[in-house]
């Protein structure tokens, strides 16, 4: 079959909502797009452990400490599922990690912001996991089978994270004046970066159309961002806090909330490595990897010895 007809068949399978599986023929560009997107997503889960990990030892109660540990552990698990899904496309975890450590692969820029107070942990759960859910629920229907299936597991846990984050903030908002101020301050800092998580506006996002056609994406960046704003504003009202956008207002005619312009200059600077914590995040990952080298080598050497023992005892028998 010519490449042309292979591509036609591929696209018609996608159009019919059939899942594409690892051994199926797929266009090179589809494979590349998936590897880039899934590995970026995996890296985001792993790098995302760092800003939250910053508060494990200082969590304010044992209940919150356990919940935070469990949440971060879930994120590590998401990283694992996603690395495995990417591996089905012919790239190894080592290669992907290498790309992260050398700065070739990106991760979600949100994790380059610092967690300054305990309320940041609530704000991350509410807004960052909340935005992640908006992005990820449609990915449960992505055309690539292993990715879609990984996302089903991930999404269940993400919605739990979001409720947990919201509960942290709600508890604080029902508390002292200082606690409420802490929440307001955290939301002021996390709101705009959370909106940026959906990526550039549609007219500045050239690859989106192809991803939509391949049914990797189901909604455009702006559609998802709007859904997120619409879902989040009423939740902010329940908390009794202000979202830091004077232009935020319900638009009767559209049936959606209007919101102010996003500072894309900030977004592109953070993506380019100039955010408040880019250097620290990457350095922490590289350090963990390098300091773990002797452990991984020893584990391999030990496994090798065990294998040889089995082989030699088998040959004796």
């Amino acid at each position: 079959m010519s490449t042309h007809s292979l591509e036609d068949r591929f696209q018609s399978r996608v159009d019919n909502e059939e899942k594409i599986e690892p051994r199926d023929w797929m266009p090179d560009a589809y494979r590349k797009t998936l590897v880039r997107q899934i590995s970026q997503h995996a890296h985001s889960e792993i790098v995302g452990m760092l800003p939250e990990g910053n508060w494990i030892t200082r969590a304010p109660s044992l209940k919150r400490k356990l919940a935070l540990l469990a949440k971060i552990q879930d994120e590590a698990g998401h990283g694992l599922y996603l690395y495995s899904a990417a591996e089905t496309l012919g790239v190894s975890r080592d290669e992907m990690l290498d790309q992260l450590h050398t700065g070739k692969a990106k991760y979600s820029s949100i994790f380059n912001y610092p967690t300054l107070t305990w309320a940041d942990i609530g704000a991350i759960g509410w807004l960052v996991d909340g935005a992640a859910i908006m992005n990820q629920v449609p990915l449960c229907r992505a055309s690539y089978g292993p990715y879609a299936r990984a996302m089903v597991r991930v999404c269940k846990e993400e919605s739990f994270h979001q409720r947990q984050g919201y509960d942290i903030l709600l508890t604080m908002c029902q508390g002292s004046e200082e606690q409420k101020e802490m929440v307001q301050d955290a939301v002021n800092r996390w709101w705009w970066p959370s909106l940026m998580m959906f990526g550039p506006n549609d007219d500045a996002s050239p690859n989106s159309a192809q991803s939509l056609k391949w049914k990797i994406k189901r909604f455009s960046n702006d559609e998802l961002r709007q859904k997120f704003v619409d879902a989040t504003v009423p939740q902010a009202e329940i908390l009794g806090i202000q979202l830091p956008d004077p232009l935020l207002q319900y638009n009767e005619a559209r049936g959606h909330y209007d919101f102010g312009p996003i500072d894309w200059e900030e977004f592109f600077q953070v993506v380019a490595g100039n955010g408040p914590c880019n250097k620290e995040r990457l350095a922490a990952r590289v350090k963990a990897h390098e300091e773990g080298a002797w452990v991984r080598e020893a584990a391999t050497a030990y496994a090798e010895k065990q294998k040889n023992k089995v082989v030699s005892s088998a040959s004796v028998a």
Binding site: A59, S176, W294
Partner: protein, 248 residues
């Protein structure tokens, strides 16, 4: 409830609490993603166990569970010194964990027969987890001890510098002597024999030498801690101290 028994329960709680706090420092920084997850799992288990003891004391004393870890001062902690020692490298953490697990598992085993039904039931629940922890840390001590020459050397170093802290688990504090007479806490000689047998076996399998002439470092059970504890509880207690009396 007698002060001695309360102190005993505090020791049962503070050991896993402080170790769990240390393990939490690893989260996101482990050498292998799967091991990062496994270590966090252990932290979850043991802090969860500590919480059960604190909750028990809180019921008796009409306090809140968080009052114990979050509002006591340095000298009131009853944990052994081992659990305060810094994480070091992954091998140090595994060796410290293995020593803790040797005590923890066999002590819990004995505690399942405690006269105090509440403590016995916490022990029955926790021993399943502790048994998994003990195999996890044993496997890592063996794997690294018998891995590469470099890992072997690191593990030999770890056992040399941590072994002086191991003995303290088995030196009965006054509150343990009292609690044992009441049938609440076990005979530490029995616990020690089982724990040491396991310890020696694993060290042998790991091809690690047993350090000789070890002088025990102790004091934690009576509140004489290392300089590390003050820093550990500074983080642990930060928010409760900075914003007294609020709910989180």
């Amino acid at each position: 409830m007698q002060k001695e028994i309360k102190d005993f329960i505090l020791m049962l709680a503070d050991n896993p609490m402080i170790l769990g706090q240390r393990l939490g420092e690893w989260c996101g920084h482990g050498p292998i993603l799967e091991q990062d997850i496994a270590l966090t799992n252990i932290a979850l288990d043991i802090i969860g166990e500590a919480r059960n003891y604190y909750a028990y004391l809180a019921e008796i004393e009409g306090k809140k569970e968080d009052d114990y870890p979050m509002l006591r001062k340095e000298r009131a902690f009853r944990n052994v010194l081992l659990v305060e020692t810094p994480n070091g490298n992954w091998g140090d953490t595994m060796m410290r964990q293995f020593m803790f697990d040797c005590w923890h598992y066999f002590h819990l085993e004995a505690m399942t027969k405690s006269n105090d039904e509440r403590l016995a039931s916490i022990a029955k629940k926790s021993i399943k987890e502790a048994s998994y922890h003990l195999s996890f840390s044993s496997e890592w001590v063996i794997r690294l001890g018998d891995g590469t020459p470099d890992s072997h050397e690191k593990m030999q170093d770890a056992v040399e510098h941590l072994l002086p802290y191991f003995e303290e688990f088995f030196i009965a504090a006054d509150f343990e002597v009292y609690s044992q007479q009441e049938g609440i806490s076990p005979d530490l000689h029995v616990v020690k024999n089982k724990a040491m047998a396991k310890f020696r076996n694993v060290l042998d399998e790991a091809t690690l030498a047993h350090p000789q002439n070890v002088f025990a470092k102790k004091g934690g059970k009576s509140g004489i801690h290392t300089e590390h504890l003050g820093f550990i509880i500074s983080e642990l207690q930060y928010l409760q101290r900075a914003y007294p009396g609020v709910t989180w």
